[in-house]
């Protein structure tokens, strides 16, 4: 990819991976990702490598899915599209007539390498999205990318093969689900998909669900700030009967959290000793059902600078959610309030 480590965080001793670039005098590579960032930094004359670029793209399709949601397809440079095919990929978008505060993060629903295009579903919620909605077909749009941290627990999605997976999506959460389905399908997983249209009249990802051979179940998941009884029963039933190995939830954090707790409980009750594996693995740290979810952190710069997305958990670790991959439990639970 175009974005090698080290980035600007290394220059100030704030690298999210390398202990030496956090000010330590020795290596502690628990989060090593395949290259020695410290070495790259020294060899680059103690300078960050050039970061993400802003691309001028053009809108090629724009449909109104509902009153406040548009589906937008843009033509983008091949190099950008090629790097946005993974689960969790996202970019920042902006109307060119506005200044830099107008960039907002948006998940890739589909990255089409053949046509070099990107498709997004955008809910028109505030100033920034509404400004983008002012653009018409053939208008120019500014894109900053690529970014990849839109899913928490990514490695579980990447590693799972030949299993049965359950996905849950509600409302606009359907959009970032699509690349996840694509990956799960590619790795020969059977997918059961619970769809909740949320506040819409219908769902907008049928086409993809069919492409990836998903078994679709419609269900109203959430009402009055709580999971519906119908959904809870359905969820537990599916988990117990289908030997589910992974649950991915693409919705608001409150839904993600409640689903995670149910998955944890069921997972613990299902705990089995896998004799073929190296040994007994305890359930809490290595559950029989993995849980992943979308990353709902608010973001402004995407580069770990602005502080908008930082979370501090009870483990006292500061996480920059725009860049730092982590398991959902560290984000959804144990938030420090002081």
């Amino acid at each position: 990819m175009l974005l090698p480590c080290p980035c600007h965080l290394a220059e100030t001793g704030d690298c999210i991976i390398c202990s030496q670039l956090q000010g330590a005098t020795g290596c502690d590579c628990a989060n090593w990702k395949g290259v020695c960032i410290y070495q790259e930094y020294i060899w680059n004359n103690k300078k960050a490598k050039s970061g993400r670029k802003y691309y001028k793209c053009s809108i090629i399709r724009k449909t109104n899915f509902s009153e406040n949601t548009i589906i937008l397809t843009i033509k983008a440079p091949e190099i950008l599209v090629n790097n946005l095919i993974y689960p969790g990929s996202f970019v920042f978008l902006k109307n060119p007539n506005t200044d830099q505060f107008y960039y907002f993060p948006i998940s890739i629903m589909d990255a089409d390498i053949q046509n070099s295009s990107l498709t997004f579903a955008i809910e028109l919620k505030g100033i920034k999205t509404k400004k983008v909605n002012e653009l018409k077909i053939q208008d120019e749009i500014l894109v900053k990318g690529p970014f990849w941290n839109g899913v928490l627990g990514l490695r579980n999605i990447n590693n799972i093969k030949n299993s049965v997976c359950l996905t849950i999506a509600r409302g606009i959460g359907q959009a970032p689900l699509v690349p996840v389905l694509k990956k799960l399908h590619k790795n020969n997983n059977k997918i059961i998909s619970i769809l909740d249209k949320g506040n819409y009249n219908d769902n907008f990802i049928y086409e993809y669900l069919l492409n990836y051979d998903c078994e679709i179940i419609h269900c109203n998941t959430f009402e009055n700030g709580k999971l519906t009884t119908e959904f809870k029963e359905l969820l537990i039933d599916i988990l117990l009967k289908n030997n589910i190995k992974l649950v991915h939830c693409s919705a608001a954090d409150i839904l993600n959290y409640n689903v995670m707790k149910i998955v944890e409980n069921v997972s613990e009750s299902l705990y089995v000793v896998d004799l073929n594996n190296i040994n007994e693995i305890i359930s809490k740290s290595n559950p029989s059902i993995k849980f992943t979810c979308c990353n709902n952190a608010k973001m402004s710069c995407g580069e770990g600078i602005c502080g908008c997305c930082t979370r501090k958990n009870k483990d006292h670790k500061l996480r920059r959610m725009c860049k730092m991959q982590t398991d959902p439990k560290y984000v959804l639970e144990g938030r420090r309030l002081f």
């Binding site: 390398c18 005098t25 290596c27 502690d28 590579c29 020695c36 410290y38 070495q39 190296i278 740290s285």
Partner: protein, 425 residues
Amino acid sequence: MKVIIIGGGWSGCAAAITAKKAGAEVHIFEKTDMLLGLGNIGGIMRNNGRFTAAEEIKALGAGELINIIDSMSLHKNLDFPGHKHAWLYDVNNIEPVVKRHLEEMDIKIHTVKRVVDIEKKNRKILGIYLCDGTYIKGDVFIETTGSTGPMGNCLRYGNGCSMCVLRCPSFGPRVSITKRAGLEDMKGERAEEIYGAYSGSCKLSKESLSEEIRNELNEKGVVILKVPIEDIDMDKLSKKVCQQYALKEFAENIILLDTGCAKLMTSYYPLDKLRKIKGLENAKYIDPYSGGKGNSIRYLSCAKRNNDLKVVGIDNLFCAGEKSGLFVGHTEAICTGSLAGHNAVRYLKGIRTLVLPKKTAIGDIISFANYRFLKKNDKKSRYTFSGSIYFERMKTIGLYTTDIDEINEKISNLGLYEIFDNKLI
């Protein structure tokens, strides 16, 4: 009763053998695809006091690895400057033999499994995490991750990654378990406030040497060539790990030993200078691949431990090899490893751990290294039976001997004969 060993080098293998013999279920987790770690490029055994230690470990009942090494020796009773009766094993063929031996003993070996973190409760480790997120429970743990590298350390304290046999860029960097457990690692120094030391030797491809040198090497096991006067670099001696080879002769001469490859007894040597020497015009490094530029940096991560090799601060963690102090060499790794493996099972059984008496060379080096490091704050000395200050000490206090019967008798008199052979659980 599960013993988990982190690191499959010589000390990890030795610990596995004694823990297994004592009756535990033993698992080795190794980050690369081969056991023995730096043992794959070592080769020198039984020189000077190492002879005594090798025979002691046999008498103590953990002679398996020594016997394998002896059987794989290419040259026996070889002398080279400062060193007597060295045995050189074949580094190119030893690993599979050791691996098979361990497998036959029903020791579970997990290669390409890098351990990156632990789960801890109070003063006890509950389990380890592999880099893919897998969690594995254990009852007692032995850290033999060594103290060498990884790349960032070799860069900060040396000339950068020289692509050594540890192959960090391919298999991922070593992670210090004691550090993950919240303990502070101690660093050795090569000079005041200069941390770490270079590995002390390289390997050249024998095929790249002149026929004359190759034949001499195969026949005698050692070849000594003069270094051109303008290239003699005395300063380099102080940077080496292996103080037993930091002798004037090693700066003025190129010393090659036959360990299956041509072992070049200097930490690194610029290739263009090396090729000025007659017979080495086509010389090629095979470990580290960039031996013309640098070598791996060691002694950056020693644990604070007791003389039974239990890590101070954690109840169920033992350590061995370089992790347990500023030790140099395979014999030293095997000795500390054997004791750590045995003591780990004693801990499981709830009986008192074994501290080897100072009347044995092994017991003495373990306590002496600790004494110098912790009490005297000596971070510059390195401890090996084969030379430098410890061999001097061995000779002074009468521990050095090559009389096998005498060694056996001494171990018997101490009531330790074949003690590592006892099944405890």
